[in-house]
């Protein structure tokens, strides 16, 4: 079963004082899929991301990534293993340029060490060259080429979101976990984002997506898991989930299109 699963977690719990942010949550992400994680505000989606990426220690949980069991303790290890994420409250390196932000993303896939940095061996220089080219390509990929020399903190909100995606892609993840990438985008921009996500998938990546935009989620996700008050209340194909009464009640609302 788990052979074709990229991410397979079960029984993840996390509490903050009295708040049970996650209560025995399980989630599977097959290779090459786009899986959506949805749910009302405060349901625990971001917390789930924080836990699987090692930012918050889990109270309990079983974690398998690409068939290997892991315990998410160190964020950087998780990233190296191939799970990259973006942040709901954008966390760019504000003082750095847009290009540099992406170059930082290349950190874990490059290896120049201290001596390399100091002595600039030919190999180091070649690597730097590659990092730069790769980063420029990624900026073009998300449509930010024009802004490459701008300081990241000066970008508008929507552009910052794209930059986060580019930066995450630079870590060459197998699984890209996106926390509300469409927030702050208008419908047309969302369409572009949708294209981008599909392209990313087509390029062989798997995506785990937190998103409140129903049409986007329903449109591109192969599978949805719905959280409410830290519990999974529904899970399945988008078409099934959207009919689920509890989901409608807690999340979609009657007026949902």
């Amino acid at each position: 079963m788990s052979a074709h699963l990229l991410l397979d977690v079960a029984d993840v719990s996390k509490r903050f004082g009295g708040v049970r942010a996650l209560d025995s949550v399980g989630l599977q992400v097959p290779h090459g899929a786009i899986v959506g994680l949805i749910g009302p505000n405060g349901a625990g989606k971001t917390t789930f991301f924080n836990v699987i990426t090692g930012l918050y220690p889990a109270d309990s949980g079983i974690f398998l990534f690409d068939g290997v069991s892991y315990f998410p303790e160190s964020v950087s290890q998780v990233t190296k293993a191939g799970l990259a994420r973006t942040f709901q409250n954008i966390r760019l390196f504000g003082e750095m340029s847009v290009l540099e932000n992406v170059m930082v993303g290349c950190h874990c896939r490059s290896k120049a060490g201290l001596l390399g940095a100091i002595f600039r061996f030919p190999a180091t220089r070649r690597e730097e060259q590659q990092i730069q080219e790769k980063s420029l390509a990624l900026l073009a990929y998300v449509g930010l080429s024009d802004y490459k020399d701008m300081q990241a903190r000066n970008l508008s909100y929507g552009h910052q979101r794209r930059l986060e995606i580019a930066r995450a892609l630079a870590t060459e993840p197998k699984l890209l976990a996106l926390d509300e990438p469409a927030a702050g985008m208008n419908a047309t921009e969302k369409l572009e984002l949708r294209e981008l996500l599909l392209r990313i998938r087509a390029d062989g990546k798997t995506i785990l997506l937190i998103e409140h935009d129903v049409s986007l989620v329903m449109g591109i996700c192969d599978h949805l898991t719905v959280l409410d008050y830290g519990k999974v209340i529904a899970s399945g194909k988008p078409s099934d989930v959207r009919e689920h009464p509890e989901v409608i009640k807690a999340y979609l609302g009657q007026g949902a299109v």
Binding site: T53, L55, S74, V75, S76, T79, K80, A84, R85, F87, R91, L92, F93, G94, E95, M96, E100, M103, V104, G105, C106, H107, C108, R109, S110, A112, G113, L114, G116, A117, I118, F119, R120, T124, E127, E128, I131, Q151, R167, A168, A170, T171
Partner: protein, 362 residues
């Protein structure tokens, strides 16, 4: 900047040549125009450049506020003082018999030793402070600096390791390739005074350190540091091992200070804990911030300004008063302090990002 200069380009080569010539004749110009005093001031300014660049790696690049930086300088200084002075043989039979000629380790060996020692201490300081942020880190590093100084001050008993507050005297002068830096070097046609020789030696060190810093800044490691400074969580999410990177910053900054300390102690011939007070750490930090934190040319400028400026005041406070009022109305040193304090404030007010900050950082 330098990197570009080094690239093979006729104009750049010309600039480089001019720069080298300017630096080579600088002590002569200064020495003839202002006397050896100014050459000595420059010598110290060069040491401060090394210190400030080292601290810049920690504070400027990695964003770790370090108020105990001078401790590493002290480690270097004491290493040389102990390994190249009669102090230990005088107080320990064993050592005296092991070194019948006295202890005279070469500055180079001690420098290498100090780099390693200081780097290790940098890591030792770094390890417990990894989760600390901002001012919490500042106070812990401050404590570390004081701890080292207090040890230097008190390790004269039960065993007399450091001679306590009395300090260590009779430290061997700098000696490289048979050139002793306290004596003029006779080249036949020309005699180079010792202080000038020191200038050249310190200059070489400062240039090397500058190049290392420039290279680090534009590297994968330099970027990782800045990323940590900007947002540590996001940096981790980029796969950066923030722990190792922070430790590396501490270690590198410390090692610069270690080398500088060795040279300082050899140059001065005397070390005592008084040279390594919190105030010295603050001065070096002020150099970094005042010059332009994170910006190498700025930091160099900051070090020069703060090393030279007080000495300029020393010279002008009296004549200027005499010119203005006909006689001295306020003591020179008071004026000097007043202006120094005021200058720190004013420079920050008019150039909050430093005298010479990065482009686009205004």
């Amino acid at each position: 900047m330098l990197r570009k200069l080094v690239k093979n380009h006729p104009i750049h080569n010309a600039y480089l040549g001019l720069g080298v010539i300017a630096l080579v004749v600088l002590p002569w110009l200064v020495g003839v125009g202002g006397g050896n005093y100014w050459v000595r001031v420059l010598d110290f300014a060069l040491l401060y450049i090394v210190l400030a660049l080292g601290l810049n790696v920690v504070v400027g690049f990695a964003g770790l506020l370090d108020l105990g930086y001078i401790a590493f300088y002290a480690l270097g200084a004491y290493s040389y003082a102990l390994l190249a002075s009669p102090h230990l043989p005088n107080h320990f039979e064993v050592i005296a018999s092991a070194f019948p000629q006295g202890m005279h380790f070469s500055p180079w060996m001690v420098a290498i030793f100090s780099i390693i020692l200081a780097a290790l201490f940098g890591i030792v300081l770094g390890l417990p402070t990894l989760q600390l942020r901002g001012d919490y880190l500042a106070i812990v590093t401050l404590g570390f600096g004081e701890i080292i100084r207090i040890f230097m001050n008190n390790l004269d008993r039960p065993l007399n390791l450091t001679n306590g507050p009395k300090g260590i005297t009779a430290i061997d002068p700098l000696q490289v390739f048979g050139i002793t830096f306290t004596k003029p070097l006779d080249l036949g046609i020309i005699q180079i005074p010792g202080l000038y020789l020191v200038f050249y030696l310190f200059l070489i060190l400062a240039v090397l350190v500058t190049i290392v810093c420039l290279h680090l800044q534009n590297s994968r490691i330099g970027r990782a540091w800045v990323a940590i400074r900007e947002d540590e969580i996001a940096a981790k999410a980029m796969g950066i091992n923030t722990r190792n990177m922070k430790l590396l910053a501490f270690a590198i900054g410390a090692s610069f200070a270690g080398v500088a300390g060795v040279l300082f102690s050899a140059f001065q011939g005397f070390v005592s804990p008084e040279s390594f007070t919190l105030w010295e750490s603050i001065v070096v930090l002020a150099m970094v911030v005042l010059g332009g934190i994170g910006h190498i040319p700025g930091v160099i400028l900051g070090a020069i300004v703060l090393a030279v400026f007080p000495e300029v005041l020393r010279g002008v406070a009296e004549p200027v008063q005499k010119m203005l009022f006909g006689h001295v109305i306020v003591d020179v040193e008071v004026i000097r302090q007043l202006i120094y304090g005021l200058a720190l404030i004013l420079i920050m007010l008019y150039r909050p990002g430093g005298i010479w900050q990065k482009r686009g950082d205004q």
